[in-house]
């Protein structure tokens, strides 16, 4: 391994070595190539955005990272070590949490219970002690409940603690889903379009939460987002995908001036 290079962002945060590294990932569904030979890394402490037009393969990329999809070619390196093929729930136990584009909450459960499920990877008591409700199980429940309450405070959703999330408006559901992912205290947080379908005010709130999470807990974040303004504001580095291929990678400024990226977004004149 070469020495870990670190650098400092314009606003003074320190970015460390790669937490997750994708090397030559190719993912196919039958004859359709969703991701074609893509490599990039996600560094410790940074906010890494993945952008691109619809159908570019961005969500597929997140699904590869969290184990829903297994790429036909290429490797994923976790802290410099090659990751063996794992099931999604095992990867969750490796400290990778995520949210979904179309919100995947447990709709019948309360906000509190939803966020509590995020603590599962930190709860070690066995099923027998749950049945008997003795010893470890009870204590563990209390400790984890406190952590969850702190997240609820942080996300300013105290008033909806007991509400079944199916009844909440869209913007709040997105926030609860973020809370559930945060509860896992992940070393890598994957956000799939955290601001899709939100109004300006909700987007500002969500941007603030994402920045705060990154700043206060030092959580590494990889996110997919369509709103270019938001991405340019909060991301440290950006990967641009189009038709399953990587067409740009760098700081927001670099990406903005990249001709391929401009073509992909504005269309190319065919002459």
């Amino acid at each position: 391994m070469n020495a870990v290079e670190t650098f400092t962002t314009p606003d003074g945060r320190t970015i460390g070595g790669p937490v997750m590294e994708m090397r030559n990932i190719t993912l196919r569904f039958g004859g359709v190539v969703a991701i074609k030979d893509i490599s990039f890394d996600i560094r410790e402490g940074e906010i890494r955005a993945i952008i691109g037009p619809n159908g570019a393969g961005k969500s597929s990329m997140l699904n590869v990272i969290n184990g829903f999809y297994h790429p036909q070619e290429g490797e994923v390196f976790d802290h410099g070590k090659k990751r063996a093929p794992m099931r999604p729930y095992q990867i969750a136990h490796q400290g990778i949490a995520r949210t979904f584009q179309n919100i995947a909450l447990f709709k019948g459960m309360s906000t509190l219970d939803n966020i509590m499920t995020g603590r599962l990877t930190h709860m070690k008591s066995g099923i027998l002690s749950h049945i008997l409700w003795k010893g470890k199980a009870e204590n563990e429940e209390v400790v984890n409940r406190e952590k969850v309450e702190r997240i609820i405070d942080f996300l300013e959703i105290q008033t909806i603690r007991k509400t079944p999330v199916g009844r909440l408006p869209y913007g709040l559901q997105k926030r609860v889903e973020l809370g559930r992912a945060l509860a896992a205290e992940p070393k890598l947080l994957l956000l799939d379009e955290p601001m899709a379908g939100m109004n300006v005010e909700e987007k500002e709130d969500m941007s603030r939460f994402i920045l705060d999470v990154n700043d206060e807990f030092g959580t590494t974040i990889a996110l997919i987002e369509h709103d270019m303004g938001v991405v340019m504001d909060i991301a440290d580095r950006v990967v641009v995908m189009d038709y399953g291929k990587k067409i740009g990678d760098g700081t927001p400024d670099e990406v903005r001036s990249n001709q391929d990226v401009i073509d992909a977004y504005l269309g190319v004149a065919h002459d």
């Binding site: 099931r87 447990f106 019948g108 599962l120 990877t121 749950h130 049945i131 199980a137 429940e141």
Partner: protein, 332 residues
Amino acid sequence: MPAGFYFGIEVFLNGLMAGVMYSLVALGFVLIFKASGIFNYAQGVMALFAALTLVGLQNGQVPFAHLINAIFGTEVHHFGWHLPVFFAILLTLGVMVLFAFLVEKLILKHLVNQEPIILFMACIGLAYFMEGFGDLMWGSEIKKLDVGIPQGGNFWIEEVTSGLGGDGFYGFYLDTLDIYATVIAALLVISLVLFSQYTKTGRALRAVADDHQAALSVGISLRAIWVIVWTIAGFVALVAGIMWGSKSGVQFSLSLIALKALPVLMLGGFTSIPGAIVGGLIIGVGEKMFEFLIGVPFLGGATENWFAYMLALMFLVFRPQGLFGEKIIERV
């Protein structure tokens, strides 16, 4: 008060207790349906199988005796011991856990993400396989199950209430076994609800019932949860098997009680534990009262055979999700 009124109450109480027995079977259905969306047709056969195993273990029957004798020309039938009830129940529970493991390993694992109808067919297959397997393992004759729960009319209640109705009334006749069944079912339901509401595993169960992908993303292993769910359903089947077996003997018609659970589920809703209980009680009381008030005087009796299904049919028309079923709300 006329004696007829008290007979009515007696019928009502007996209906409630019959309803508890239906609820016990319906409960097993609901548990599995909630967690995996599978309509487990085999629930009734699981109760039968559990009861068969319990009797077999208790009486020291040699499993597969017929098969062994046919192949090796031996004449073994019994080990010649009688296991204590508690020990036999514990062993049966072990068998049901093993069963849950095998169901996951041999069937569910290969059918992830399949259509519900395919899973349903798998359960029908499982039901008939288990019926045959139970027969092969323990023999098909009707067996008496006695786990020490007293049976017959409860004299205490009869005596205390005999004064109520005057000369023609001799007090309420309630089967002691039914009273035990009611108490046990109540305890079972309370502990199930506590377990699912207040423990990590319970929360994981509810999470899986709600959204598979999201459950995976927070680190829940679907397969582990399925084993747990089928184990719990096996446990409920065991309790139902003990109660029904003690009441009417362990016989293969026991598996048909699954069919009685169907109207209960339609009434209570497929996804609600309280629904299974209340649905069972309504069906139990409804069919006994209907028989008493209308069936016997006007229709020539035997209405108990079809009343539950009629009631379920009416519910399907007016409230398809059942009394307590989750209303399907889609945000648009």
